[in-house]
Every structure is written in structure tokens, then in C-alpha cells.
Symmetry: C2
Subunit: 248 residues, 2 copies
DNA sequence: CCAAAAGTGTTAGATCTACACCCATGT
DNA sequence: ACATGGGTGTAGATCTAACACTTTTGG
């Protein structure tokens, strides 16, 4: 009975999606790799399909009158409720055989999607990859459309992924590493205020190498982008660290 | 009379293109920024539209069963006759208003394109930007479809460009500069063999800064990717330089 | 023999790495 | 008092920029 209600709700989604299809660009999608940082681990937000043990990136489609960057922002908002997020387009994935709808077929059947939805997904899709850097603590995942659940995964312990989404995550991670080296991108993964040690752990986790405290702190402060605030009272048996905030 | 023949030939092109349309991905194009190096200047290969003084990048479309990288390679080949070229996808251009067909309308009319061609171009296009690095001396530009002429332009003296193609070139140049800094990409713009001074001039031109001979040579040779060949007899009144070749 | 450009070597300065030392805090 | 982790200073190594000196070649 509960399952039926759920299905009805989902059919509502299909109805909306079916109505939207004529206003979408066909065969072109956006996939967002949403990165977060928690417990000294780099995380990715993924969604699980109904019925099958298969996870996927948060994706969506571009409306006819919409800039692609706006579409990516909208899609991210629809899945996380967040706005004002750091989003970076990084690569297009366009192998001819990058989707195999063997998962989807049974899923579509079970969810009783409309013929228009079936037709929309029948063709090959090319996907524009974006990565998002979010404050883990602010995210409130929303599951929508084909998905029944949304969860964070450690980047090194990914579940079974749909299509080429594992490759997309891998490429996004490479780009993120690269960006960290010469941009000021890391702060987007941090909360408003943070200690130098927390920032260092972020860098070490993403880049996969250790740094010396003294040198890391010097390098960061030399950039003149960190404002030192009051000390944080840790309650631990040692000197309390300063808090920092990212400034323009 | 000659003009009529030309138009007939072009109608042949429209015929072929019209037949091809059902097998193309709609609303998605590829634009290639083709870089070459000649006379100590960085050049871009552009094509001129029929009828109007308006130049454009070499572009094309993706076939349904075709990987996008293969499509870019094919498009490059169709416009230059070259194969085995260094091609790099660098950015997607997807502003909603990035094309205005005000140029095209009169052009389409004059060229008597088919209704199918008109319908194909009626919609908004999103374009995947690639840049190509070619040996200037090997290129034999081919003009096709909408274009009557193809020519090299100095990067700092570009003509009037269609759509957002000036921005695309600008972004491609930024990416190329960035790639030069940490990849071995420059050699693709050189002929098979070259002197150290020629290579230095390439770097100086693209990066827009001067280097000291001694330090530049040291840095390049330290990479262990240059093989020193026999000396080049210049016939000039000074020591003749070594020739180098790029290896693996 | 001279001018011009190529090849090689050397040194001062800047930057990076590693470690040492001191400081604050709770037990 | 002391163990723990945070903050700062510094010597040595490494890398870089700038210049000097030598070599080759045609006139």
C-alpha cells in the first residue's frame, strides 16, 4: 500500500517530466560530481536508482532557453537545496556507447514511465561534466525522479556505478587536484571558519600527500586570502588553534 | 555563369548535408580552433562565409554512432586534409544566445539551402570547443559547405568573427598557454626538426614573454624529450645550430 | 680578424624542505 | 609537571635568473 502511494507520487514526477521534455535539449545531459569533505575524507554525493543496487551522479537536462551554467546550477539546487555553490565545468563525455540502458529498461517498466520518457531516453546521450564543491554540513540531499535515496560515499569506496559515472568521478577528481595546485578552490569545501590543521587535512586528503605544518601554514598565509579570527576553544589539552576565514 | 556553376556545386553540398541531417545529433556542434606557427607568429585557421565579410572557426556535427573525439578528428580532417593531429577538447560553449542567425538568414536564402537545413539550424546550438596544434607547413586548407575561402590569421589580428568565435579562440589560447607550462605540447606546432632558437621563439610568442637562451635550453634539455641531430648549415656568418627532434 | 649567433659554465638570489624550539592548555 | 598539538624561526638544500665566457661560421 505504501509502495503504491510511492508509485503514484512517482507517476506525478513522470507527468511533470513528460510535460517538460519538449522544452529540453535532446541527447544532451549534465552530470554533477558533488564533492564534500567530512571526517578527513573526500566524499561524493550519489543517488540510488529504484529497484536496483546501482548508484549514479546527480544529473539533469538543459532547457531550450537556458545557459548551460545556469542549468548546472539549477540541477545542483534541485538535488541539494543549495545555491551559490562553486561549480566548474570540466569535461564532456561523449563516447558513442557510454550509456547502456540495460539497467534502465527494467526500471522504466517497473516505474511505468510514459512513452515520451521512454522515447527521450532511447537515444544516445552526451554529457557535460561539472564538479561542485560544497560545505558538507550544509547539504540536505533531496531524492527525485528516478532515485529513491541519496547518500555520501568516500571517494575510495564507491559503490557500483551506472554508465561511465566512475570514469566521470575519476576525471573530476583529477581536475580538482589540478585546480588545488594553482587556484584557491579548497575553501569551498570548508565551513565558514576552520583551523589551519583542518585545511591542511583537506589538502592532504585530496592530493594524497603529507605536508609539514610549518611550511603549509606559511604557504597558505602568504597568499593573503585568509583572515585570522579568534582562537578556537577546543577543550583539548594543548594550545588552542586560531580560526580562519576565507576573504576575497 | 561561373557563379551559377558554383551555386550548383554548392547545392550538391546541400543535398549531401540534407541527407546527413537525420544521422546527426541536433543542437550540438564541434568548433575547432586550429593553431599553427609561422614567421614567429601564432596563427589561427579561419573560413569566410559566402557573400558576407564574416569569418568563422572550422566546425561540424556529431554523427549518432560516433565518439565526440572521433567527430572532432574527422571534422579537422575534412577541413585540412590532415590526420594524426594533436586535438584537445577544452570547453563547452553553451550560452542560450550564443548564436544569432542574423548573418545566416540572408546567407541561407542566397545559397538556396533546403528546408531541412533551415530547420536544422533554426534551433539553438551548444558547441564543444577543441583546439588543434598543427604543423603550419603541412596544412592545405579545404573550403567546404558554407564557406568560400579559408586562411590563416595572426592571433592578434583577427578579422570580424561570427557568433562567439572570438571568445572561443580566446579561451583556447588561454588553455594552450596553460598546457605549455606543464605539458610537452609545443612540439606539435613545430616541423619534424627544428633548432632550439625556433622552439624558443614559439614559446615566447605563445606565452608573450622573453626567455634567456641559456636557461631555456637547459630547461628543455632537462626534460629528456629532445634528440640532438646533426647541425644545420645556415649559411649565416655564425656558428650553426643543432637540429632537434621530439622523441616519445 | 671581426661580427653575429650558438653553446656552456658560474654565481647571487629566491624559494623550498626539514627540523628545532617555544607556547598554550587540560589532566 | 607534563603530554599534546599549535605557532614561529632558521640553516641547508635546491631551483632560478642573470650574466660571462667560449666556439663556430661567413664575410
Amino acid at each position: 500500500m505504501e509502495k503504491n502511494n510511492k508509485k503514484l507520487a512517482e507517476n506525478g514526477v513522470w507527468k511533470d517530466f513528460t510535460d517538460a521534455i519538449p522544452f529540453l535539449i535532446p541527447q544532451l545531459s549534465i552530470d554533477c560530481v558533488i564533492f564534500g569533505f567530512h571526517n578527513d575524507e573526500l566524499k561524493v554525493l550519489l543517488s540510488k536508482f529504484h529497484q536496483i543496487e546501482m548508484w549514479a551522479l546527480h544529473g539533469g537536462f538543459i532547457r531550450q532557453g537556458e545557459d548551460i551554467d545556469d542549468a548546472a546550477t539549477r540541477i545542483l539546487g534541485e538535488h541539494t537545496g543549495l545555491s551559490g555553490i562553486y561549480l566548474q565545468q570540466f569535461q564532456v563525455f561523449g563516447k558513442a556507447n557510454r550509456q547502456t540502458f540495460k539497467y534502465m529498461e527494467s526500471l522504466f517498466e517497473a516505474l511505468e514511465v510514459t512513452p515520451q520518457v521512454l522515447a527521450f531516453f532511447e537515444n544516445r546521450f552526451i554529457s557535460i561534466g561539472y564538479y561542485a564543491l560544497v560545505d558538507f554540513s550544509k547539504v540536505n540531499p533531496i531524492s527525485a525522479a528516478f532515485f529513491e535515496e541519496s547518500a555520501w560515499f568516500d571517494i575510495s569506496e564507491l559503490p557500483e556505478l551506472a554508465f561511465d559515472h566512475r570514469e566521470i568521478i575519476q576525471k573530476a577528481l583529477e581536475q580538482l587536484r589540478h585546480a588545488l595546485d594553482y587556484q584557491l578552490v579548497g575553501f569551498n569545501l570548508m565551513p565558514e571558519t576552520f583551523t589551519m590543521n583542518e585545511l591542511q587535512l583537506l589538502y592532504e586528503t585530496i592530493l594524497g600527500e603529507k605536508f609539514l605544518r610549518a611550511n603549509f601554514q606559511r604557504k597558505m598565509l602568504e597568499m593573503n586570502i585568509l583572515e585570522r579570527l579568534d582562537k578556537k576553544q577546543t577543550g583539548k589539552g594543548h594550545k588552542s588553534p586560531y580560526l580562519y576565514r576565507f576573504v576575497t
